[in-house]
């Protein structure tokens, strides 16, 4: 399928090559390595048959649940305009823009993406994307290690547990100490003493549990010790939150799903990476720069290529090649669609709705341990077992949140949730969580 050759074409091509069959192409391959009867796989399906086949698979997903789960991936409204533009075939089916003259479209959108990320976070230089939030944190830690030549990393425990696992995989534990600092009442201890053996201070904003704090003082204390400060930010809250740049961070990384990508079962989404210009030559991944052609026309081109693996090979600081360009394009278009007012509405509505939900839960006798410090995401203390509550709430039509521990569910409320959905959630919860 998708091979265009007719019998007539094949005859002409075989004649050009003086062969009689496809098998004649492989006479130089040792017989022992040639598959005699081909692959042991099912017959092909037509498109029409495939529709049925994948309908059956899709129907096995509980896909109609009202989503109160977050943890980095949020069920925000993704407008059709953003989806349609991102899926334009000129973007979707193009290659990496090495040939600038025929890639100005992708190059300019990526340049706009970089600039939008900088404006949104108050940074000076953003790259053209990394794989996802989790791997971006690990890349940022590598930058800090390269910059400082130190071997310790101070990491806030209030990070998505999967992100911690990715950090533990990608940062060599034989060479570097990863020091996880426990949160104190869901906040990073403001009296924490940094020591100057540390390369990086990594903290999530808001914390995984949903609590949020002004990190300005901590950042300044860490920087005094020569530590590179790294903020893992929830970008879709930056319409209402103080920016990481305002708090003084050196590097910001983010899981960009909630800006431009559907939930996608976790991927493909996009990792954001932005920093100050002094770090430019340590930045992983692609960078797009603005230039001019010989006639003075504005043109964009990939730049600082000498950092990358195809040129520096084993001396490269990162091995990244394929990135998440299409999702970065989605982020740029979604941010442009939202504008300052839309991004504000998205954040403001979600914290109003989360606040309404927290107060209603408390009224119903529930405990929200981080009620005061949380914004759109918070911990719900359940009476029975958290994982059972999530399963039973599924039967009632709700994705209740993310299992946090046996007694807590992590609940997120996006701008998309309606008051009626919140009210019904609480009614359902009281039925299923009956200790």
């Amino acid at each position: 399928m998708f091979v265009p050759h007719s019998e007539l074409d094949l005859k002409k091509m075989f004649d050009e090559l003086s062969i009689n069959s496809l098998d004649d192409l492989f006479t130089h391959i040792p017989d022992a390595l040639l598959l005699e009867n081909g692959l042991d796989l099912p017959e092909s399906l037509s498109e029409l048959e495939s529709i049925d086949y994948f309908n059956d698979i899709a129907a096995r997903n509980k896909s109609d649940l009202v989503c109160f789960a977050g943890g980095g991936h949020y069920d925000v409204y993704l407008p059709q305009t953003v989806k349609s533009l991102t899926m334009r075939p000129e973007f979707m089916t193009s290659y990496t823009p090495y040939q600038a003259e025929i890639s100005q479209g992708i190059l300019q959108v990526l340049f706009e993406f970089q600039s939008l990320v900088c404006d949104l976070t108050d940074m000076e230089l953003a790259n053209a994307s990394l794989y996802d939030g989790a791997t971006s944190i690990a890349e940022a830690i590598s930058v800090a290690i390269n910059k400082t030549k130190r071997d310790g990393v101070t990491i806030s425990s209030g990070l998505n547990p999967n992100s911690k696992e990715v950090i533990n995989t990608l940062i060599d534990k034989n060479k570097f100490n990863l020091n996880y600092v426990e949160l104190d009442n869901y906040l990073f201890p403001s009296d924490y003493d940094f020591d100057d053996s540390q390369a990086a201070f990594v903290v999530s904003y808001p914390h995984y549990e949903g609590s949020c704090q002004d990190l300005t003082e901590l950042v300044s204390k860490a920087k005094d010790k020569g530590i590179v400060t790294i903020c893992y930010v929830d970008p879709s809250m930056l319409g209402v939150l103080t920016t990481p740049g305002q708090m003084g961070f050196d590097i910001i990384v983010a899981e960009g799903q909630s800006l431009g990508s559907p939930l996608s079962f976790g991927g493909p989404t996009v990792g954001w990476f932005a920093t100050k210009k002094e770090f430019a030559r340590l930045v992983p991944g692609r960078l797009i720069g603005e230039s001019r052609d010989k006639d003075g026309n504005k043109s964009y081109v990939m730049t600082l290529r000498a950092r990358e693996q195809d040129i520096r090979r084993e001396k490269a600081s990162s091995n990244i090649c394929t990135n998440q360009t299409l999702n970065a394009i989605g982020s740029a278009i979604h941010l442009s669609w939202l504008g300052p007012e839309g991004l504000y509405d998205m954040g403001y509505h979600s914290i109003q709705k989360a606040n309404y939900m927290k107060k209603s839960l408390i009224k119903s006798g529930y405990v929200i341990p981080n009620d005061d410090s949380s914004l759109r995401e918070f911990l719900l203390e359940v009476r029975t077992n958290a994982s059972e509550v999530i399963n039973k709430m599924g039967e009632k039509g709700f994705l209740a949140g993310i299992y946090y521990d046996d007694n807590h569910v992590l609940v997120a409320v996006t701008e998309k949730r309606k008051k009626t959905e919140i009210d019904d959630y609480i009614l359902a919860l009281q039925e299923v969580d009956n200790g």
Binding site: S44, S94, T96, L263, F265, R286, K294, I320, W337, G339
Partner: protein
């Protein structure tokens, strides 16, 4: 002659430069709209809330749509023309796969749902694991790596962990051919190995004698792609694998060139222990302008417990996540690029046994046919039958007319084609590497060869300025020094530069 799929009309729209979205911004405009707040509004005091609004463009929806559509018109793509781009497998991406991946029952699944709620997603991952293992001759696969380079790193971390657990920590050297992709040595170094290069012989294959000299008790493994980056099948692969295995090392297969052998031959049968595949190459998922990809890693049975977990299993007619016991750990926040994986499964289902059995053969047929045509214009780098791609060199033209591979690539853009891969592999001077893939017609291949012939003749004329090419595109060659020197990577940077310089 007018033929199917060729570049007889120019694919891109040019004209004046398109302003940035920021330049299109005007205060008070907006595209977004949200429902009115339906909960009682209360005053929320929190130290992290700011008073000012975010710095973002303010545009109408129509302006937004026109802007990004116009930018799309300035971008080449598989849907617009032919990419003879060696090592990248830019084949046709079936629309149908996109429609399945856009189904909200897949696209709107939250990644943190319990496995009972996500049986469909798990089935997708289980099924494609079976397909991929059969195609590559391996036993188990993990779909966490979101791209090829991440797959490479995964494979190397598996080797490292395997050596650690078997008390073979003296083994610190990874052998990589001098023709390898840059990601190979970069990944090996990231995994903490020392990189040792093995030379390529004059036929374009791994030099077996040199390999024997390099291999020793510290050899941890070899990274190889077969066919290699010269597009040639490593005929001595069984000897190579014996040399490495006898030294106690493992064999890693870089799946960059898997398209050449699908249905014909399998890395698992060649002796490879670990294989990564690029679903965005071999299995036709769209490249997205540079990503997302998907770089699943498949291993032989004895390495199953080292895979990044969890991986999908099927027990008692239910699907569940299995966590490998000695797992190297997560390579991605969740389950890799799931929707890319799903598209690849759709492609495999559409092709089925019939399509997959002949996939590699047709890819090789097209490359062999194109190489026959091109070799009459530019000499091939190796005098061996090519697989799915082939390398040529314009080193003679450089000597006689100062025409570089770069210039040929740029001139080809004018004819409506993407450039072939240039300056790769590094061991071939002034290399141009062509990979047509199986989805291009004979006429398109003929047209490329004809255009190449015209270009080479044009570029040799005395009065031409090589730097003027390409001439018919939205922009000419951008000055690459300005952004590299002045870091004009954010809007406003360039204007600032013009003021200060």
């Amino acid at each position: 002659m007018v033929s199917g799929g060729n570049a007889s009309s120019l694919p891109l729209v040019g004209g004046k430069p398109e302003p940035t979205i920021k330049e299109l911004s005007s205060p008070g405009r907006r595209a977004s709209n949200f429902p009115k707040l339906d909960v009682p509004e209360v005053k929320i005091n929190h130290e992290s809330l700011k008073k000012e609004k975010a710095r973002l463009p303010e545009v109408s929806e129509h302006d937004l749509v026109m802007h990004y559509s116009r930018l799309a018109h300035r971008n080449f793509a598989v849907d617009l023309g032919f990419y003879p781009l060696g090592s990248c497998t830019m084949k046709y991406n079936p629309r149908f796969a996109d429609s399945i991946a856009s189904d909200s029952r897949f696209a709107n699944m939250h990644p943190s749902m319990p496995e009972e709620f996500t049986q469909g997603c798990l089935k997708v991952m289980y099924e494609i694991g079976n397909y991929l293992c059969e195609i590559t001759g391996m036993d188990y696969a993990s779909f966490q790596p979101p791209a090829g380079a991440s797959g490479e790193l995964t494979g190397l971390l598996i080797i490292k962990k395997y050596l650690e657990i078997n008390n073979l920590t003296n083994k610190t050297e990874i052998i990589v051919p001098d023709s390898a992709h840059g990601t190979n040595p970069a990944s090996a170094r990231m995994a903490g190995f020392t990189v040792v290069e093995v030379e390529t012989d004059e036929r374009g294959m791994v030099n077996i004698e040199k390999l024997k000299e390099i291999v020793n008790e510290n050899t941890a493994g070899l990274m190889l792609t077969n066919p290699n980056t010269g597009g040639l099948f490593e005929e001595e692969i069984l000897t190579i694998s014996q040399i490495i295995h006898n030294a106690g090392g493992l064999l890693y297969y870089d799946g960059a060139n898997l398209n050449a052998i699908v249905g014909t031959s399998r890395p698992g049968d060649m002796g490879f222990d670990i294989v990564h595949s690029n679903l965005h190459k071999t299995f036709a998922t769209p490249h997205g302008g540079g990503g997302p990809g998907s770089g699943p890693v498949a291993v032989k049975e004895f390495l199953k417990e080292y895979l990044p977990g969890p991986i999908a299993e099927n027990k008692d007619r239910k699907y569940n996540w299995y966590q490998p016991e000695n797992s190297i750990g997560r390579m991605h926040g969740y389950h890799g690029n799931f929707l890319v994986t799903l598209r690849a499964l759709v492609y495999m289902k559409l092709l089925g046994k019939e399509g997959l059995d002949t996939l590699g053969a047709y890819a090789v047929l097209n490359a062999r046919y194109l190489s026959s045509k091109v070799s009459k214009i530019i000499p091939l780098a190796y005098d061996e039958p090519c697989m799915h791609e082939f390398v040529t060199s314009v080193k003679d033209l450089k000597k006689s007319h100062k025409i570089k591979a770069y210039d040929v690539g740029k001139a080809l853009l004018d004819k409506g084609f993407h450039s072939p891969t240039i300056y790769f592999p590094l061991i071939v001077p002034e290399a141009l590497m062509f990979e047509p893939t199986e989805t291009q017609s004979k006429e398109t291949l003929d047209d490329l060869a004809d255009s190449l012939k015209i270009i080479i003749a044009d570029l040799q004329q005395e009065d031409i300025v090589l730097e003027d090419y390409p001439k018919n595109l939205p922009v000419g060659r951008p000055n690459e020094l300005i952004p590299a020197k002045f870091l004009t990577v954010n809007w406003g940077d360039f204007e600032l530069l013009e003021i200060t310089e």
